[in-house]
């Protein structure tokens, strides 16, 4: 369940600190900041630093060696594949869902929005379990799949399905509020002026939502590459074949190969940092855009 939260402009604190009624004495201010920063450092900063410290404990050579190991490279390829499948599908779904919800009126709209959010409130373990219940040997389609020699769970398709499930809401929940707030006037004007539906979408809607779309894609991609619980259930843990990077981290860790586990983990931590930098950049760009004076 991600919170739709876009960092606010940074010029606000001065406004509060300038007002005698809303500013706190320095001792209160620095105590609160102090407690906040200790909490922040203990729970957020320290784990991030620990990943890199542990990864390089045995030096660069061991690090490189752990990363270029064939099973690890195979896990990197599978992780990239999972993201390459899940992200575009969820972009198409997200745009379709947001277009339906924001540009049309129908009954049960709020219910549909709740359904789209559903995967966020389901435990990742259950997200994996449901595909075993459908496609597993004892599942609904199990006998039919076995008869046709198709393998879905404990194979790559299961991993792709589980990844898609946990990332369903990311793009849609960014676009729905954005497109709702933008209204329908611009699209209606384009249609009146003779644009086709598709032209209206590509020339009017898409430029309006590009930052929101990018924001959703960044978050969707991070989750797709980092998902652990759901893919763990459906993967079957076959080395070099059905292991994604997070699963490879687990296997190496459980083999007490800590340096290698943290080396692979550090690549994922790097992905997290890149995600946060891109996210902050998009928030900044989108923030700039909303502050531009509107055309009369």
């Amino acid at each position: 369940m991600a919170v739709v939260a876009h960092a606010a402009p940074f010029a606000r604190a001065e406004r509060f600190e300038a007002s005698p009624a809303a500013s706190d004495p320095p001792i209160v201010k620095w105590t609160i900041i102090g407690i906040s920063l200790v909490f922040f450092a203990t729970f957020l900063l320290l784990p991030l630093l620990a990943v890199f410290a542990e990864a390089f404990r045995k030096g660069w050579q061991a690090y490189i060696h752990a990363v270029v190991e064939p099973d690890t490279l195979a896990s990197i390829r599978l992780t990239l594949l999972a993201a390459a499948v899940a992200v575009p599908l969820n972009v198409i779904f997200g745009i379709a869902a947001a277009w339906t919800i924001s540009k049309h009126d129908f009954r049960g709209k709020q219910f549909l929005i709740t359904l789209i959010d559903l995967p966020f409130s389901v435990s990742p373990v259950i997200a994996g379990l449901i595909y075993i219940l459908v496609f597993g040997a004892q599942g609904w389609l199990g006998p039919w799949l076995a008869a046709h020699d198709i393998k879905i769970v404990f194979a790559v398709p299961g991993i792709l399905l589980a990844t898609i499930f946990v990332t369903v809401p990311f793009v849609a929940r960014e676009l729905i509020p954005l497109m709702q707030s933008q209204g329908r006037d611009e699209e209606e004007a384009a249609l009146v002026l003779g644009a086709s539906g598709w032209q209206t979408f590509t020339h009017v809607t898409l430029p309006n939502i590009k930052w929101g779309l990018l924001y959703g894609v960044i978050l969707c991609n991070a989750r797709a590459m980092g998902e652990f619980g759901a893919v763990s259930v459906v993967s079957g843990h076959i080395r070099g074949s059905t292991n994604t990077m997070p699963l490879q981290v687990e296997i190496l860790y459980n083999e007490y190969n800590f340096a290698a586990a943290f080396a692979v983990a550090s690549l994922l931590a790097l992905l997290a940092i890149v995600t946060l930098v891109l996210k902050t950049f998009v928030e900044w760009r989108a923030g700039i855009q909303t502050h531009e004076p509107e055309a009369p």
Partner: protein, 277 residues
Amino acid sequence: MTAKVRRVLPGFGLSMGITISYLSLIVLIPLSAVFIKSATLGWTDFWHVATTPRVVASYRLSFGASLIAAAINVVFGLLLAWSLVRYNFPGRRVVDALVDLPFALPTAVAGIALTAIYAPNGWLGAFLAKFGIKVAFTPLGVLIALIFIGVPFVVRTVQPVLEDLDIEFEEAAASLGASRLQTIIKVVLPALAPALLTGFALAFARAVGEYGSVIFIAGNLPMISEITPLIIITKLEQYDYPGATAVAAVMLAVSFVLLLLINALQAWTARSSARLR
């Protein structure tokens, strides 16, 4: 007068079709399997499987630790959000960006990192060991992991409300003779209450189902530090599909109730912050 719905914009059929088919195939039909499979168990078997002592102990840990973690996050999340919105301090932008780390960092990575920190020879574990406090491989470790993943939920729900809270409310309270503490308790905190409660519920809901960041640090001792999602995995690995499904059905039911509650809370937050603007 009846407002006739006029569909001016095209693509309703196509976009609605894609939305409904995709949701049904990926989410709704597979999820329904949990309830349909549990129904085949029969009520007595279901109740028996879902309430064995080991499973009940896992509910107690999962829900108990999630409640405590969410409560701790409300306190520190509020302080962190307050610092980010109200004060200028060096490094504020970096702190603000890193608050979302638990969303971006894969849970397995968080799990092994927290274990490394809190293990008896870890950075904080060694320090705490001097006082006889053991964190890793105990229920306390579960709590630490659940605090980690819950941080952004509280901060990111409180932050926008705090930013929108008009400064005039505090100025009015001060000009009417309220002390700063009275203003905070009687004016600011009530305005933040819906957001704090929403953040609490979101952090709690996420923590209940959390798996990746917990299993490495928990130690996973049956009856002591075994969370409910792990019970499901263990049952699956023993090919006890009905058992896994029954426990999953209990968790799903709780998740649905929480989802409805969160929706109501978010609506309340939106209404009350609109009133205060």
